[in-house]
Structure formats: structure tokens, C-alpha cells
């Protein structure tokens, strides 16, 4: 089992000088063909060099089998950083999203949500002037673009109000209106305000700002 003690480090055998310095290159197959053939011929007749070559090969195997350590942290420098404006933009987007969300809640649940109810009753007094000057029929105080149907409905109410008002009728007789219906003073004040686009607008803005904040956050993390 055990190999005999090795020969002197520089020595000769019956096969010629021991190719000691070439043994590792031989087992690594890193010798030119003439040298490889010469060493192979020597090994065929030299048990000592054959044993050494086998030990060198086994030593290389032990080195290859060493444990594979892991670093405790990433060693790759973060080079692809996000642009410098990402961080403040993310902060502003987050704040804006919160503000818009609050405005949405206020508009949907609070006074901002029922601006028409407060202004509808006052509309008949102001509306004739708007009509006479060709205004777009938008009720004051709504603030956000009114829909075409809301404008038409407002004009219809104003037609009714004008026909019910003697002063106005005397000054400028109302033209026949296709929307004319019997006047009902109670209707102008008790009509529920149609849902305006304002709450939805705030909600949309809140969602957009929130999405922008999330997008920027993800990009920064990825960078």
C-alpha cells in the first residue's frame, strides 16, 4: 500500500534523470508533446515517479475540493445608480398622492362633493345674464368642467325660471324652448345635485401620483 521512500530530489534512475519539475505539468497535461512522451516513458519504468505523479494528482484533487466560501456582502460596486432626481421626485409623488387622496375624500364626502346643491338654488338669478351673453351654462362654483348634459339641464332650468319671472319676461320674452316644461319653483331648490367629475379627478390624480412614486421606488431599488 505505502510507497517506498522517495529517491533523492535530484537523482537518476535506470530510465534517466527523474523529471521531477515536470511531473505537475505532466499530470495537468500541460507539456509539449515531446516532453510529455519523454516523461511518460520515464514513468513507465520508474515506480517512484509514478507514485509521486499520483500524489500530485491527488493533491490537486484535494485543492479542487476545498470548501467554497461566500462573501458576507455583495462585492460588486453599485454602478448603475438611478438618476439623482429620482429620490426627491419619489418623495413629492408620494406626498402628492396623499394630498390628492384627501381631496378625493373631501370632495366625495364633504362640502366639496356637493357644490351644485348649494349653487343650484342661486342659479336662476344669475343664469339669465349668462344666457344672454352666450355663456356656456356652467354653474358657478363647480370649478371643474361640466358635462354637456349638465349644461343642457342647467339651461333647461333657466328657461323655466325665466318663464316664471315676470320681470325677465317683460324685458325679453323667452323664445320657445324645446325643453320648456311647466314651471316649478320648488324643483330648482330641491333638485339633487348630479355627481360632478371633481371627486373622480382627485382620485385619478391620487392614483397617478401613487403609481409614479411606486415606479420611481422600484427603479431606485433596481438601480
Amino acid at each position: 500500500m505505502r510507497e517506498p521512500p522517495g529517491p533523492p530530489d535530484v537523482g537518476m534512475s535506470e530510465m534517466g534523470p527523474h523529471p521531477d519539475l515536470e511531473l505537475s505539468a505532466y499530470v495537468d497535461d500541460a507539456l509539449d508533446e515531446p516532453d510529455r512522451a519523454r516523461v511518460a516513458d520515464h514513468l513507465a519504468g520508474c515506480a517512484t515517479c509514478t507514485a509521486r505523479a499520483r500524489e500530485l494528482s491527488a493533491t490537486a484533487a484535494v485543492l479542487r475540493a476545498l470548501p467554497d466560501p461566500r462573501p458576507s456582502r455583495s462585492l460588486v460596486p453599485p454602478l448603475a445608480r438611478a438618476p439623482a432626481w429620482y429620490a426627491p421626485a419619489r418623495l413629492l409623488s408620494g406626498i402628492a398622492s396623499g394630498v390628492f387622496a384627501l381631496l378625493f375624500l373631501a370632495a366625495a364626502l364633504g362640502p366639496l362633493g356637493t357644490p351644485r346643491a348649494a349653487t343650484t338654488a342661486a342659479a336662476p338669478a344669475a343664469a339669465p345674464k349668462d344666457l344672454a351673453t352666450g355663456a356656456d351654462g356652467r354653474a358657478p362654483g363647480v370649478g371643474v368642467a361640466a358635462s354637456a348634459s349638465a349644461a343642457a339641464e342647467s339651461a333647461q332650468r333657466l328657461d323655466n325660471a325665466a318663464s316664471a319671472s315676470p320681470g325677465t319676461r317683460d324685458a325679453q320674452p323667452a323664445p320657445p324652448s324645446a325643453f320648456a316644461v311647466p314651471a316649478s319653483p320648488a324643483r330648482a331648490s330641491s333638485e339633487p345635485a348630479p355627481a360632478g367629475p371633481a371627486p373622480l379627478l382627485w382620485l385619478g390624480l391620487a392614483l397617478a401620483a401613487g403609481a409614479a412614486a411606486v415606479f420611481l421606488h422600484v427603479r431606485m431599488r433596481a438601480g
Binding site: 521512500p5 519539475l21 500530485l56 491527488a58 493533491t59 484535494v62 461566500r70 458576507s72 454602478l79
Partner: protein, 197 residues
């Protein structure tokens, strides 16, 4: 294989054009091996981490000058030089004992196998062998250690090791052989009786 080579060539091209993400991809593929190599050269994890991080940053700064095709060999060259610089700095400041000199063409001494029991022929396969080998690596000259690690642990061929260490092939052969004999001697002195059969 060709596809991987093409992908790496594309990453190299992009990195040289200043694409940090492309360089990160290249570096991340070698991070583990670089750390393993630096740790075995230096012996301390924190130094190995610092060396690799420094080497990768240096590589990024000089990627525009990279002309070769093997980023791996190039990164190992930078990390090896950084590790050797650190070892020299340690020695200057007295942090390390003097290493044995690299003996050039002097043939290595082969330790004789110890006689007697217990039978330890399987030591090389065990956990104990790893500790013996790692301790032995830190005792051999750094030039031999570097060449041996690049060959037996990282799998570079002799020509690549010559380029990484800026050495002639003959010098590489000699360093690998003497380093390997030194590790073998360390194992033998702990009872290893060589490979079975």
C-alpha cells in the same frame, strides 16, 4: 458555448461604452471566484472582501482599456495584484512573518511518508484535509500560492496563469509544482499516505 461567448462579448462592449449594468453582470459572475481566490491568498475574509471590491471598482474604471477577450482572467489579474499589494503592505508594517523565498528552479523536497499507524490514508477526503491544505497554502511563498490556486482551484490553464501573473510558462510550471509539493508534504506530515492504489 458560442452563445455564452457572444453574450459576454456584448456585455463587454456595453460595459466599455459605459453601461454600468453590463459591467455589474460581468462582475457578478466572477464575484464568488474572486473572493475565494483572495481569501485563500490572504487568509482573512474582511481583507478578501475589501480586495475584491477594490479590484472590481478598479476594473470598472479601466474597462475602457480592456483589450482582451477573457474578462475573467483580467479580473483575476487585478484582484491578484491587489492581494499581493496588500500582503506586501502587511509585511512592511510587520503584520506578517516573512514568507519563505520563492526558490526558483531548486527542486522541492519531498517529505517521506511517516511509518506506523494509525491508518490515515483517507485523510485527503475529509474535512481535516481542507484545514491542513488551507494552513499549508498560507505558509508557501505567495508566488507559488497564487499559481497553485489559479490552477487547482480556479482551473486556469498554464498560459492564462502566465498572463495573469505576468510570468513565463516555465516559471508558472515551476511555481505550481513546488506549491503542490508543499501542500502534499503538509498532508503527508499529518499522516496522509497518498492516494489508494
Amino acid at each position: 458555448m458560442n452563445r455564452e461567448a457572444d453574450e459576454q462579448a456584448e456585455l463587454i462592449r456595453r460595459a466599455r461604452a459605459g453601461d454600468g449594468r453590463a459591467f455589474e453582470s460581468l462582475a457578478r459572475a466572477e464575484e464568488r471566484g474572486l473572493y475565494r481566490h483572495a481569501l485563500r491568498m490572504l487568509g482573512t475574509p474582511s481583507d478578501a472582501e475589501d480586495v475584491v471590491q477594490d479590484a472590481l471598482l478598479s476594473a470598472w474604471r479601466s474597462i475602457g482599456a480592456f483589450q482582451g477577450t477573457s474578462v475573467r482572467a483580467w479580473l483575476f489579474r487585478i484582484a491578484t495584484n491587489r492581494a499581493i499589494d496588500l500582503l506586501r503592505a502587511r509585511r512592511r508594517h510587520g503584520g506578517l512573518p516573512l514568507e519563505p523565498p520563492d526558490d526558483g528552479d531548486v527542486e522541492p523536497r519531498w517529505s517521506e511518508h511517516p511509518s506506523g499507524d494509525p491508518e490515515l490514508s483517507e485523510i485527503a477526503a475529509g474535512r481535516e484535509a481542507a484545514a491542513i491544505v488551507e494552513a499549508a497554502l498560507l505558509l508557501i511563498p505567495v508566488e507559488q500560492r497564487t499559481a497553485l490556486l489559479l490552477r487547482d482551484v480556479e482551473g486556469f490553464d498554464y498560459a492564462e496563469i502566465g498572463r495573469i501573473t505576468t510570468s513565463e510558462i516555465g516559471t508558472v510550471k515551476s511555481r505550481i509544482h513546488r506549491g503542490r509539493v508543499a501542500v502534499r508534504n503538509a498532508l503527508v506530515q499529518r499522516g496522509w499516505k497518498g492516494p489508494a492504489g
